[in-house]
């Protein structure tokens, strides 16, 4: 990098530097492609947007990192003091032209990333998560959507210490396993009965805190059939880690069939690992540090299973 | 508490004192202190603007006439303390003490007025966010007024040490600065709580 400041053009240095920059560009590009493999499967419309952005950032980041590390490696290899050499090096105190260049380049790079991100966010806003926050329980409102994308289904998500409950008001169904129809936009209405929770489905690349006292509307379109995990992402107390649930994305017909079957099923206690673990824990002679007792499991039509394999 | 520590001279035995720095340090402290109030003010504004029902049941607004009298007294004490400082610089100790004492009395009157107001209120600090922020803001400010009066008392006692103020005592300067600070905070507080209803 610094070699550009030498007065007379040093041809081998320029060639060497160009070759090395070329190699770094290739490596960065390759890393950018690799980045997709570090992420879970893409199961919503949001996922490709997020992943492309991340891949782009990985490429830029790799380039910056390699650039810095190359200079460090170079000086450690070729600019070491001789064993008994106590003398000082040539004192260069600065170079205004270089300062301007290395202020401008990062500025342009980060503003480029920011621009891309804002555009991606806008697209995400129309396709997926666009939060509408309002105080809990006022008049119903589904705004901000162009008519054709208006989500057909509304699912009420109730977070508790420590279980997830999903209600399908249209079909009069409740469940502790989330079922969604593929390619069908859905609105979640997130509410919490106690503390903060986080609604996080890694395969969908979406996450939204569930804030007690507010109802947050949140939209997603699943795009891939399969079983995924919903994880609590905002620390919510003792059984936070166990506060997970399955998300089943199925075809529209299967989904319809599931809803119908579920609506006929009797109410029964839903899944809550916290409740059973709490019972064993309290049975011990010294239960240990204090904990809030778990809320009783919600009464649901479909508890779901806790042991089916999931993809992400 | 920090305030008093700053006002005390360092240990004379081991260290050369740098009295000149006390005022610098104190001003830095005040700037920092103002951020706490800023935090409380913005919390108040945010909670108020987003509240569904701000006032607790049975409360319909705050009485503002008596607090207004209180405000006038407190704000004028900024003037009297400035006068006191002016006379100290003229080395007229008698008038200095007079005006200084007067500022103390006005501060005490303010605290008394606030106590009367508090005791007549229909709501406590657990009455929703309104009650909480009201007592938090006025209480925290009241604590500062009380501290100011204590500091003034200390400076008054010190003024009886012969020759104590001849070298230019920064304690008086700092105390009066603190008092102006407390006044400005009150004006903002008054506007936020009593005027913006």
């Amino acid at each position: 990098m610094t070699s550009s400041s030498t007065r007379s053009i040093n041809t081998p240095a320029v060639v060497g530097l160009s070759v090395w920059v070329g190699v770094m560009v290739l490596i960065s590009n390759w890393m950018g492609q690799q980045a997709h493999r570090w992420l879970p499967v893409q199961a919503s419309t949001a996922a490709p947007l997020v992943d492309d952005l991340f891949s782009f950032e990985t490429a830029i980041g790799t380039f910056v990192f390699l650039g810095v590390v190359s200079v460090m490696a170079w000086v450690m290899l070729f600019n070491r003091a001789e064993k008994y050499d106590d003398s000082d090096a040539v004192p260069i105190e600065g170079n205004t032209k270089l300062e301007v260049i290395w202020t401008a380049i990062p500025f342009v790079l980060v503003m480029g990333i920011a621009f891309w991100t804002i555009r991606a966010s806008e697209e995400l806003g129309t396709l997926g998560p666009m939060e509408h926050i309002h105080p809990r329980n006022p008049v119903e409102e589904v705004g901000g959507y162009t008519g054709d994308r208006l989500p057909k289904e509304q699912v009420e998500v109730i977070a508790r210490q420590w279980s997830w409950e999903f209600r399908y008001p249209g079909s009069n169904v409740s469940s502790t396993e989330l079922h969604l129809a593929v390619d069908q936009p859905v609105t979640f209405r997130l509410v919490s009965e106690d503390v903060l929770h986080g609604f996080y489905i890694p395969a969908f690349r979406v996450k939204q805190d569930v804030v007690p006292g507010r109802a947050i509307d949140f939209n997603v379109t699943p795009t891939r059939e399969g079983v995924y995990r919903l994880r609590d992402s905002q620390f919510s107390g003792t059984w936070f880690a166990a506060n997970q649930s399955d998300v089943v994305v199925e075809s529209a017909e299967e989904h319809q069939a599931w809803l119908e079957q579920a609506s006929r099923a009797p109410l029964q206690p839903g899944l809550s690992r916290a409740v059973s673990e709490y019972a064993t824990r309290q049975a011990r002679s010294n239960p240990g540090w204090a904990t809030v007792p778990p809320a009783p499991p919600p009464q649901v039509n479909v508890p779901g299973s806790s042991s089916q394999p999931h993809q992400a | 508490m920090t305030t008093t520590t700053l006002q005390q001279p360092g240990t004379p035995a081991e260290h050369e004192q740098h009295p000149k720095h006390n005022l610098t340090g104190f001003i830095i402290f005040l700037c920092s202190e103002s951020v706490i109030f800023l935090a409380f003010f913005s919390g108040y504004a945010l909670l108020k603007t987003s509240a569904l029902n701000w006032l607790p049941d049975g409360v319909d607004g705050l009485e503002w006439r008596m607090p207004l009298v209180n405000t006038i007294v407190l704000v004028s004490s900024s003037g009297t303390i400035a006068l006191a400082e002016h006379f100290k610089n003229r080395e007229n100790m008698l008038l200095f003490r007079g005006f200084w004492l007067m500022s103390m009395a006005m501060g005490a009157y303010f605290l008394y007025g606030q106590a009367v107001e508090w005791s007549g209120l229909q709501f406590g600090f657990t009455s929703g966010t309104f009650g909480g922020t009201f007592y938090l803001l006025t209480g925290f400010h009241g604590l500062h007024v009380a501290t100011g009066i204590l500091l003034m008392g200390l400076m008054l006692i010190k003024s009886f040490i012969p020759g104590n103020y001849s070298g230019g005592e920064q304690g008086v300067q700092a105390t009066s600065l603190f008092w102006h600070f407390v006044d400005v905070i009150w004006i903002i507080l008054f506007l936020l709580i009593y005027v913006w209803q």
Binding site: L39, F235 | T2, T5, G25, L47
Partner: protein, 558 residues
């Protein structure tokens, strides 16, 4: 309890006693801070070992879930409030007065009070392990409503003690900040204008200004939290109309700037050490110095990047993303200036230099993951996952703690008067560098795959990287042994240090090692040029030859 915080077996050697007393000498206070901080570092590290022990298997099997939550909360709290801030204040105490030629801090008594608050709130925090119900367990953020749930309902509870301790830590830090800022502004040696001041002092000034602006907001927020917890107010309680998100704003308004309070002095350390060990002046001194204040300005307006998934409006997300990204610019100016300093130098890979180079490597990596976190859609996916944990351990352990180690090795001879051992130092570096990367790199794939942080159990697909991380962590635990060995043995019987063993330029190197209590006393030298005049042949102060000759004579006589 504080007695235990100091090196064991205090020999009846003269002088040890002052480390246990209310001494007002900044150099004594500096060492008190650093030793206390490392005592707590061991405790925080021990808790980290328990965390990694639990996470080496997917099930929650090593400790109870409630215990796990308490442990990670206390790990974060101890590492930040009882290790990082105290150790940096220790360096401030040692370096600021000696670097600017002041006899002491502006307010020596305030300084001592600020220090002694540390063992007091440290004790309070440790005591919370033993109250009924255990310590605070709601994370170092202590977000309500979890933090105000108080399951046992006792008046004295771990969470209440936690809030009190953090508030006391704030009081102590404010006292320190007033002192450091006043000292730097008012007590510089004759001739030392701001633009002749060492960069460490610039960064300390910048960092302490952030403390002064940010801390009161946290204190205010903490007072309200304590009232909600203890007196039943409802500032953050949704049932009473309160707003839990309000607390998040208060918390991050301080706690984001706090990360720059940590890293700025480390930038200062890098800027001091790279010139010494590459024998060249700091490249672009003025830009490096000023960039610190640009970071201060930007650092104050980015806090919402910790709350992207909390329920903030889209315009706010975009605005705070842009401000966050801009921080890469002044930081880049510094990074490139260091590279410019190294370029064409005559490098000596001593222990402090190795720690600086390793720290820079890790820092750039962490900065890049920071930029990824700043972009909203990516952050939405990885927020509150191990990706974030990886990001910040890279900065904090990989860059800040490594920079602190560099500083300790570099200035140890000056303030202790004895030389640390190079062999042990290099071993320490090697284990730290390898351990840290092995420990913290695997956290990034875990986060990308969707493993949340703060979990005591996880799905089996995350096992592989967790095992690697745990092994790295244990290596990191081992890495501390050569360090402690080095420090203790060098302190007790290391070779005597001359006044300037590294051939460095700076006022502190014109003092005997260790410096006398009042540093230069009456004859403070007059500064006549910029710092870092390596190779320029310009003396730093008037009569420099004379001063050095006198020091050499003294050393020869001893």
């Amino acid at each position: 309890m504080t007695i235990a915080t100091f090196p064991p077996e205090p020999k009846p050697e003269p002088g040890w006693g002052r480390y246990f007393s209310f001494c007002t000498d900044a150099k004594v206070i500096g060492i008190q801070y650093i030793v206390t901080a490392f005592f707590f570092f061991l405790i925080g590290g021990l808790l980290a070992m328990v965390i990694r022990g639990e996470l080496i298997t997917p099930e929650s099997d090593l400790v109870d879930r409630a215990v796990y939550n308490g442990i990670y909360t206390m790990h974060g709290t101890i590492m930040l409030f009882l290790f990082t801030f105290p150790v940096l204040n220790g360096l401030n105490n040692l370096l600021i007065p000696t670097m600017i030629g002041a006899p002491d801090m502006a307010f020596p008594r305030l300084n001592a009070v600020a220090f002694w608050l540390v063992p007091i709130f440290g004790f309070l925090l440790m005591a919370s392990f033993f109250v009924p119900g255990g310590p605070a367990y709601s994370g170092w953020w202590s977000y309500p409503p979890v933090s105000i749930q108080n399951p046992l309902g006792n008046l004295i509870n771990g969470q209440g003690m936690w809030i009190t301790a953090v508030a006391l830590s704030g009081v102590s830090s404010i006292m320190g900040a007033i002192n450091f800022v006043t000292t730097i502004l008012r007590m510089r040696a004759p001739g030392m204008t701001l633009f002749r001041m060492p960069v460490f002092c610039w960064t300390a000034l910048a960092a302490q200004s952030l403390q002064l602006i940010g801390l009161p907001a946290l204190t205010g927020g903490a007072i309200m939290l304590l009232m909600d917890l203890t007196f039943g107010t409802s500032f953050y309680r949704p049932e009473g109309g309160g707003d839990p998100v309000l607390y998040q704003h208060f918390f991050w308004f301080y706690s984001h700037p706090a990360v720059y309070v940590i890293i700025l002095p480390v930038f200062g350390i890098f800027s001091e050490l790279f010139p010494v060990y590459s024998r060249k002046p700091l490249f672009g001194y003025v830009y490096v110095a000023l960039a610190s204040f640009i970071i201060v300005g930007l650092g104050l307006i980015v806090w919402v990047h910790h709350m992207f998934p909390s329920g903030v409006a889209q315009w706010m997300r975009n605005l705070f993303m842009v401000t966050t990204m801009l921080i890469a610019v002044p930081t880049g100016v510094k990074v490139f200036a260091w590279l410019g300093t190294l370029w064409g130098g005559k490098l000596r890979l001593t222990t402090p230099m190795l720690f600086c180079l390793g720290g820079l490597f890790n820092f750039v990596f962490a900065g890049i993951t920071g930029i990824m976190l700043a972009t909203v859609p990516v952050d939405i996916h990885v927020s509150n996952t191990y990706f974030v944990v990886g990001h910040f351990h890279y900065v904090i352990y990989g860059a800040a703690v490594m920079g602190i180690f560099a500083a300790i090795y570099h200035w140890f001879p000056k303030f202790i008067g004895r030389m640390p051992y190079e062999g042990l130092g290099k071993l320490h570096f090697l284990l730290t560098f390898v351990g840290a990367n092995l420990n913290f790199l695997p956290m990034h794939p875990l986060g990308l795959m969707g493993m949340p942080r703060r979990v005591s159990s996880y799905d089996p697909e995350f096992t592989f990287w967790n095992v690697v991380a745990s092994l790295g962590a244990f290596l990191l635990g081992v890495s501390i042994i050569p360090f402690l060995l080095n420090m203790l043995s060098a302190w007790i019987r290391g070779p005597k240090a001359t006044h300037n063993p590294w051939n460095a330029i700076g006022l502190e190197w014109l003092l005997p090692s260790p410096p006398p209590e009042d540093n230069f006393g009456e004859d403070v030298p007059t500064v006549i040029s910029r710092p870092y005049g390596y190779g320029t042949g310009q003396p730093l102060v008037e009569h420099q030859d004379e001063i050095e000759r006198r020091l050499e004579l003294q050393e020869a006589a001893a």
